[in-house]
Each structure stands twice: as structure tokens, then as C-alpha cells.
């Protein structure tokens, strides 16, 4: 999976490394901003109220 992604990235190795880092950063942003908040809403360990 990752080997195929590496081959698909254009340019020389050093440029591929930069591209891979940018992709990783984008994935982290999407997770932090949208995915994790949505997941946390359905987990029980953040409840602080009674009732």
C-alpha cells in the first residue's frame, strides 16, 4: 500500500519525501478537525454531568 503510494508520487526521492510529509500533514488535519471530534461524541468517557 505505502510502496505503491511511494511509486505513484512524481519526482526524485527527496521530492517524494516532501510530498509524503505534506500528505501526512493533510491527513492529520482532517483527523483532528473533523474525524476525531465526531468519533469522540460517541465515546462515553467525556461525561461530566449527572442525569
Amino acid at each position: 500500500m505505502y510502496a505503491a503510494l511511494w511509486r505513484a508520487l512524481p519526482g526524485p526521492a527527496w521530492f517524494k519525501a516532501i510530498e509524503a510529509l505534506v500528505l501526512l500533514a493533510a491527513v492529520v488535519v482532517v483527523l483532528f478537525q473533523w474525524v476525531f471530534p465526531a468519533v469522540a461524541d460517541s465515546l462515553p468517557f467525556n461525561d461530566n454531568t449527572v442525569g
Binding site: 483527523l31 467525556n46 461530566n48
Partner: protein, 233 residues
Amino acid sequence: MIRRLVGGLGELLITAGALVLLFVAWQLWWTDVVAERDQERIVQALADDFASGGTGLPPEVADAYPDLDEDAAFAIVRVPRFGEDYARPVIEGTGRPVLELGVGHYDGSADPGEVGNFAIAGHRTTYGRPFHTIDALREGDRVIIETRPEVFVYEIESSEIVRPWETQVIQPVPDDPGAAPEEALITMTSCHPKYSATHRYVTHGRLVETVPREQWRLEDWNDVTGPRVSPEA
């Protein structure tokens, strides 16, 4: 063929492990970073609003938080035990979006200073953890609820640990359901133990002073006996 399948499966498992670790980092660290910034901003907006005679939150702050209805943030809570500068917004309701922006006021519980029980909830961990050190509160510690016209000073009297369904703790007379209230009380709830939701840490207090805004001086009320215990440390 088999080698490729096993290799692919290994990559998937490593990816899943990395995702879980990343989620833990987000929950334990990033939610604090975001929520502390948001809560500070709302407190500042409230403080400016109270000082200027009260026209509501400025539009740029209100618009930044779609979960915040107009006038939903209505008070600032200060707890000298939690630090000289400790201040968090108090917001109507106790839904998840509210508790990420500050301390929530239980629907239907008394208003600040009113006879009955002013009941509020806050995160013990994550999302700015306003009540992280709720177990450091001692008898006689002050909890200050600053509203636009008046500032209410409560003093802590007792604490208890209950299960999440034990709603009698936020009744008008705590632990005495159905009784008619005669005093203005405060109840704070948070989860317990830390990083768990099996129990609730509950602290009760009593109104000792009501100060009109013009006469309010925080420094007269901000001292504690013993060390301060910051929820942020």
C-alpha cells in the same frame, strides 16, 4: 501472493495502531489547546461586556462559536483555589458542545444568587479541563460567579462522590428531593476518577455574599489558605 497479502495486512495494522495513538494525542493534548484558547476568548469577551455595561458578546466572538446561542454565555466563574487568574465562562445547558466551550449550567437549576441550587458541570480532563482539580476544593474555599449586574460569592461546604444517575445532588436542596429550598446554594459536578466516567465528583457550597458590580473588587476575595492548585498544570 501470500507475501503481498501478509505485507498489506501488516501495513493496515500499523496504520490502525498509529490512528489510535493519534486519537489519544488529540483527546488528551489537542482538545486542551483548542478549548483553553476558546474559553479564554469567551471570558475576555464577557469581562469586556460586563465592564462596558452589557450589550452582549461582540459579533466576531458570537459568530466564531455557532454552538453558542445569543446570551448563552452569561457568567464568569472564578475559583481562587484554582489560581489567582482562573476564570472560565459559564454557559446555559450541559450538552457536549457547551462543555467544550466552558462550564455548563444545568437546565432548570437556579440562577446565580437565586434561592435553590445553582448547578454547574465542567470537564475533569480534556477540553480545557476547567474542573481538573475539583478534589482540591476545601471547606471555606470561595467560588465566585460574576454576572453582568452582580457578583455572587459562594463558599464550599462539602463534597461527595456519586454514580452518574444520582441526580439528587443537583436538586434545589441537594440529596433531599422534593424539599423546598430556603437558601441559595451552588453545586459543581465533574467526572471521577480522572479519565473515567464511572462516577461523578460533586461539590456543594452556600451563597455568602452578593456584591453589586460597581463595588466589586476581585482582590478582596481572591485569597486562599494553603497552596493554589491549578487545573492547567
